[in-house]
Symmetry: C2
Amino acid sequence: MREFDLINWIIARHKADPARVPVGPGDDCAVLNVGGQKLLVTTDQVLDGVHLHLAQAGPRACGRKAAARNLSDIAAMAGEPLAMTATLALPAGFRLEQAQEIYFGLCEMGEQFGCPLVGGDLAAWTQAQGPLQISVTMLGLCRQAGPILRGGAKAGDALCVTGQLGGAWRSGRDLSFVPRVREAQLLAQEYDLHAMIDITDGLAADLAHLARASGLAGRLDAAAIPIHDDALRGPDPLAWALHDGEDYELLFALPEDQAQRLLAQQPLPVKVARIGTMLAGEGLTIIRGEREEILQPRGWEHTT
Amino acid sequence: MREFDLINWIIARHKADPARVPVGPGDDCAVLNVGGQKLLVTTDQVLDGVHLHLAQAGPRACGRKAAARNLSDIAAMAGEPLAMTATLALPAGFRLEQAQEIYFGLCEMGEQFGCPLVGGDLAAWTQAQGPLQISVTMLGLCRQAGPILRGGAKAGDALCVTGQLGGAWRSGRDLSFVPRVREAQLLAQEYDLHAMIDITDGLAADLAHLARASGLAGRLDAAAIPIHDDALRGPDPLAWALHDGEDYELLFALPEDQAQRLLAQQPLPVKVARIGTMLAGEGLTIIRGEREEILQPRGWEHTT
């Protein structure tokens, strides 16, 4: 089974109800109308052995990452975190102090962004073999006119990215990243963002999501992609930057003139780079030297 | 580790923020202020081998139960379900059709109560031994003046319960119950409910939660407790009705005169029984014949 087969099947089955649910499954968050407010809802999980390794990372880092992944989804809509809930499925024999460490990890991350833990559930595997699993659901509010969706890019828009890409999970950076919540809010306030996504599956895969949702093609300029030191040490730094994922940086599209202003102003604590352009058509290409090549996403995907 | 040790530790650490979070961890749902509305949030999980057995129940019943447990928490606050999200951690080798069955189970339950699935996440265990785990988070709205909490009972209140208790998980009734969402709304509209909880851990354990939250004692009348046929077949039907749990019935406290009117009117499709009284003090007792005995909750609890 391929994960995206099921996700696309679920998205296709969603019954549109724009008055109550302006944005259903398929974006970084769903959007609900609640009392005249746009409420963001997202959920994400971490599994021991899949998204991280409890034995190496320790329980606090597991809790931290579970909260941070969700904060990054709120950031991708330029939302303001409101509150979170968590469920913990604990290995048999897990100690109270270990569970408390998960809680500390969740809360230290949430508290940085005014996002308290307001509820949860815990259970322990009775089978000896059940591994640690943490699910977090996060709520947020959208302060500006509307949330920034994946599907709003226009042909001719500049593609920009925060920070540097590649090598995140190889180096353990995926356990310590700070979600780009404040950066996203500032970008959405100061610039006319058309579309945004956070980079979790990899630059190529997430650009493919954004391009498909917008009904456009995306073209990257290989020389402009900011490659992280963690990837520069590898045998193929560009491939790692394109495909590793778990960067939790923001990828966004905005009009050319807005991008020029942003690049001149550099208003964020992290550098913004212009890495490509949205074009009419479909699929992805990448310019390497003189050549423009087809780019196939091969971002990390859960399969079974 | 005892589950309630960690839960109580988490509740004690919650920082009160009544303007944004009128009700934090420790009730059936948290309550958030969103745009002048009272937003309910609850989360609950099912683990294969703990809350059910995938091999016997099949994937659809697993999805159904995961949604139904959350609906029952919304019911316990007399809320109106709004939307849900789900995360699925799938065993290695799980087939697409099996995952789709989980989705059907989630949605058939949600759709009965106008509660669409608006987002989710799925991942597959890479280790051979990871069992199925489903987490659902459900949002609801509180239409009446306020949500019905656990802690609002007054000394002298009558204790009532919907339906019949005992033997639920022994008979598989825990896989087919219909959450008391509509019953709870009608009760909250027509009667002055002081406190309510849904019976998941067992009548005795959940009454203990309600009594403790209200700062009161609870007294049950053994002869008045409605025992389900599934428990009448057992060696000690009363013990099963008191302690089995997974009944997903409503237990609530209301003034004596309100209870008399409710019992005379019987306005629900399910019968309401008066089973006891809230009293000043603490702890639980039960009247059996001529004697009043101490009642120790021994509801089902996850331990590790």
